[in-house]
Subunit: 355 residues, 2 copies
């Protein structure tokens, strides 16, 4: 899922996303709550119509963003009190209010409010956060059921346009806590299960190990979603562990600093060697950018601060990730995923940090 934090996947129109095969995007309740705010979303009739996007949207509850605010937030049993990173105003997110706001957004996949422990984190603190996430998960589910019943009663449309609610597995880097979290969440019952609290600064090996300890225990017939990941090599590891869905700002963020993905690994296209390079970003790509533009032109655009430059790098990086996911799906269907993984990583060269 490309990330559209502020009701736009940076630099891209919806039509451009459709063209590269994007079927679902992620947006952030935290950011949309602050700007444009509830009243405008209500007035326009939801996020799809606001941003002219006709396909599914998954909205993050804001739990992770609030966790990232550090001293600007305070967690209580009621919910998460925080100060806006924009104007310092005070707000309270509760398990009930984040569901209500995401339903107002018209989100297709609603995420619950959870508590994400930092890394490193002591066992006791990790347990407290995991336990609270479970108690909040029950309240999230209650609020979601109340909201969907009200919606169904109002529209008599039980099967159409109904949203899904996912649970978020916590437990930091302690596999017993993660196992408890899975048991507690599956008792409550969700439409899909997300793995939260990874990719928060821990070494990659620990993340991979936690995935192996966690994902195989999730219900087999529900989607498994690894939040905030990732880099191609992380996606391949996570898919091997059984993950189905990902979101990450990496393709769009790297694009804006002039870093692009190629079959042979990442390339810093803003650097001087690309100035005279008449080849496309990636010969094997075939996206609009690689069909029509040279590295030299894109390097020129970035060098002179032209917006078309970051448009083209973003477009290509997203197309590259969508192609990678298609290739992964095909290799699974052909029962040659491990072979594909090995081939891809040999060419890719493992040179990217998980930033």
């Amino acid at each position: 899922m490309p990330v559209g934090t502020q009701a736009t996947v940076k630099t891209m129109t919806p039509e451009e996303l459709y063209e590269i095969g994007v079927d679902i995007i992620l947006s952030n309740a935290y950011h949309l709550f602050l700007r444009p705010g509830q009243e405008i979303i209500r007035l326009i009739g939801g996020l799809h119509s606001f941003m002219h996007w006709d396909k599914p949207i998954l909205t993050d509850s804001g739990g992770y963003q609030i966790f990232s605010l550090g001293r600007l937030r305070k967690i209580t049993e009621e919910g998460a009190r925080f100060q806006s990173h924009i104007d310092g105003s005070y707000h309270l997110f509760t398990p009930e209010s984040v569901i209500e706001f995401q339903m107002l957004l018209g989100s297709d996949i609603v995420m619950p409010l959870d508590e994400c422990a930092p890394y490193p984190c002591g066992y006791k603190e990790a347990r407290i956060a995991k336990d609270r996430t479970t108690r909040w998960a029950k309240r999230n589910k209650q609020a979601f059921l109340a909201s969907t019943s009200a919606k169904e009663a109002a529209f008599s449309a039980i099967d159409e346009n109904c949203s899904s609610l996912f649970g978020i597995v916590q437990g930091n880097m302690y596999s017993d806590l993660r196992h408890e979290s899975i048991d507690e969440l599956t008792d409550i019952g969700f439409d899909g299960y997300a793995i939260g609290g990874l990719s928060v600064g821990e070494p990659k090996e620990i993340m991979y190990e936690m995935l192996k300890q966690t994902v195989p225990r999730l219900p087999k017939d529900s989607p498994h979603y690894l939040m905030g990941v990732g880099a191609p090599e992380d996606i391949l590891e996570a898919v091997e562990a059984g993950v189905d869905m990902f979101d990450c700002v990496m393709p769009t963020r790297h694009a804006r600093t002039g870093e692009v993905f190629t079959s042979n690994g990442p390339l810093v296209i803003r650097n001087a060697p690309c100035a005279t390079d008449t080849t496309p970003i990636d010969h094997e790509c075939g996206c609009y950018v690689c069909r029509n533009y040279s590295r030299a032109y894109i390097r020129h655009l970035i060098h002179v601060n032209e917006i078309l430059g970051v448009r083209l790098t973003t477009w290509h990086n997203l197309a590259f990730m969508m192609k990678l996911m298609r290739q992964i799906r095909e290799s699974i269907l052909q029962e040659r995923f491990l072979e594909f993984k090995k081939e891809f990583l040999e060419n890719w060269g493992h040179r990217f940090s998980n930033s």
Copy 2:
């Protein structure tokens, strides 16, 4: 002609420009000479291929940009010596070198090196600049003929892909000097005639008066091009005087500061009143932006510094100008131009400054 100073019409792809009906763009030899520079243009095989643009390009010689450098330039009979506004490096543009560089760019309409006098400007100074422009015009023409004969000899393609050379009328705000300039340029003979040295800070009434004194004396069967103009009201005045072609950064520059054109005049879409406005920028427009996005969404994007915001305002403003030019052409064919002009200006409201 939308302006693509640095080998890109800011924020737009060529396909988007084709969609709104753009048949020709302007680019700047001065900027392209500095970045990416001659060697890269030579390597890629010209500007069209560099920027993936298949339709005609008019390139400005750089005369006006050098004029704008103020103390960083020195005009001699040989040409214009100047310091780069980017790194302070010294360069010399001569009537011969600007033709050579524009031919290297593969420009479809080549502009000569001229000397643009400032406003206000004494009669003597204006005459000196006009006289030098005439002497340089002869050298421009010689260099152009030499270059095109060499090209024809090399490719045996006399009729295909041949470039045109325009002359630039100078004379500041003195109509007798402008009349002399026209006589001298038509003696040399050019494929089209541009009016330079207007819209350099003089009151609009003076510009309109100069157009009336100048354009009717230009050869009837050649295109008449008013450089660096303009605002819709200026375009309408100039068309009435007999001008055919325009270029201006206004639609793209205003778009980047959150100002958009509507049938009822300009609108500052970044301002708060648009935050809750669910209507399109312009109900009468019909461009991609007005078909799909609300003012509220575009205002949100600009408010949170999202690139899609300036993409959408730029797209609309250019579509608005292209539609205006189509309407002007149709009204001329229907022999109702003056009626159209009156209607448009009544709705438009004359509220825009010529910035």
